[in-house]
Symmetry: C2
Subunit: 247 residues, 2 copies
DNA sequence: AACGCGCCTTGATCCAGATCAAAGCGCGAC
DNA sequence: GTCGCGCTTTGATCTGGATCAAGGCGCGTT
């Protein structure tokens, strides 16, 4: 369990705030931007933020664990998943820097969280956040807005899982990654795809074999190119979009 | 468009509050329970609440419509769904009395809403609610809690759609309906199933034929009985639960 | 270099659930 | 009553993606 911790300085929190646009889904950082009482609030935030580094494949917490801690991804990619007793797995989401982890009203986590790549997270106790929320209602708003947009994404995913075929799923997945990278200011076209075939399969409700075959098909039809280092070039956005929308 | 409207009296709002427990997911009513300023708040609420009655099969709004109104189901069952251009449909949720509709941060609805049975809803303009939220932070909390629990339900549904087989899906569905009925104080065992086979199919990512066959199988194996008036008796909770959990 | 170990790809076969097709079965209109 | 229409059930067949089974390929270790 390689898990290094050290207290965030106030400076690092400020710096973190600078490299993220106010509307990205990073609660702590963007909430400080929102608040009217920035300086005061930021000071309190800096006091409770703790940075956590994990290797690839590290389980941060498991479904059912006591949900006393909140996390905010600052680097790397995380995956959230649920398991059935016989081992079937559904990944419910991939988290990129700025995403939030552990937004639960219950006292246990509803899913497990594991790093896909080496990752850094900002962690803080839930109690402390709740205290902050009392004092800064705009944080509440922000938190609600985040939950709402996650809900909208979940509904899109239900449509995908319930009604799209393999090709449509892969196309939707690649476009989603591209869209998210773009909104965070990363390269949107050769998309970075850091997760394994098996992770993609468990996210899209398919098997690794089907994911692999479908990538091959898309490559053969020139819609995408598979590049070095887990990058995928989207050659024909037109076609991919049509596929994703199920036209 | 059979759409009758009349202003709610303050009395009806109070009455509504009485037949719902504080922790049911009915935002307006339970928020009034939560707030320290009940009398004042309730007065303001009563001013803006408007009751809406619709027939079965009525489309309340469609995906993409301007999302300027919020609804709160007070009687009947609603369904929310998304469509693909070729007509494939995914129902993302069924709403029972007390459920909330239109929780969107965007300015357009992310899904369509249609009544399954004749239904009554309390409607109010989003702007007015936002004003209330400014003044009553506990409403914010309540709203956030609702969005969180919807999110948790959405994640369960992803597991179902991505990884469960037909029998497991139907068992999960019936148990979910039973659980929800119970928490609202309705009969939990002969479960009321007001929706058509085709609605169930579009909720579970199956076809009507498969839904029908699976009901027959469960009936044949004595796990359930199909009763009059769209009721289903769950005979063998043990087996159903095992199926639903995928053991 | 040779080996082992995870992935990933590719091929062959299988099967759960889709699709196609045809009755039942209410139930309201006339 | 009986006609028609929508919903449901049941049967026969088909198929997209799962499963089973080999290799291939990159990479770190000895």
């Amino acid at each position: 369990m390689a898990l290094a911790e050290h207290a965030c300085t106030r400076e690092s929190a400020v710096a973190a705030r600078i490299d993220v646009a106010p509307c990205n889904a990073c609660p702590v950082r963007s909430m400080s931007v929102c608040s009217a009482l920035e300086a005061d609030e930021l000071k309190r935030l800096a006091d409770i933020l703790v940075s956590v580094k994990v290797d690839a494949g590290h389980t941060l917490f498991a479904e059912g664990d006591g949900a006393d801690t909140l996390f905010n991804v600052t680097a790397g990619t995380m995956k959230l998943y649920k398991l059935l007793p016989d081992g079937r797995r559904q990944i419910t989401g991939f988290l990129l820097p700025g995403d939030f982890l552990g937004l639960s009203i219950n006292d246990t986590y509803a899913y497990s969280a594991e790093s896909v790549t080496p990752a850094t997270l900002c962690r803080f106790p839930r109690r402390r956040l709740e205290g902050l929320l009392e004092d800064y209602p705009k944080m509440q708003r922000r938190l609600f807005a985040m939950a709402s947009s996650e809900l909208a994404a979940a509904q899109d995913q239900m449509l995908l899982l319930g009604r799209k075929n393999a090709k449509e799923r892969i196309a939707s997945f690649l476009l989603m990654l591209s869209e998210r990278a773009k909104r965070r200011g990363y390269a949107e076209n050769p998309v970075h795809v850091p997760m394994s075939r098996s992770d993609i399969a468990d996210y899209l409700g398919l098997t690794t074999e089907t994911v692999s075959r479908t990538f091959t098909q898309l490559k053969t039809s020139r819609a995408i190119s598979l590049l070095e280092g887990g990058k995928v070039r989207l050659n024909d956005m037109e076609t991919l979009q049509e596929l994703a929308e199920g036209a």
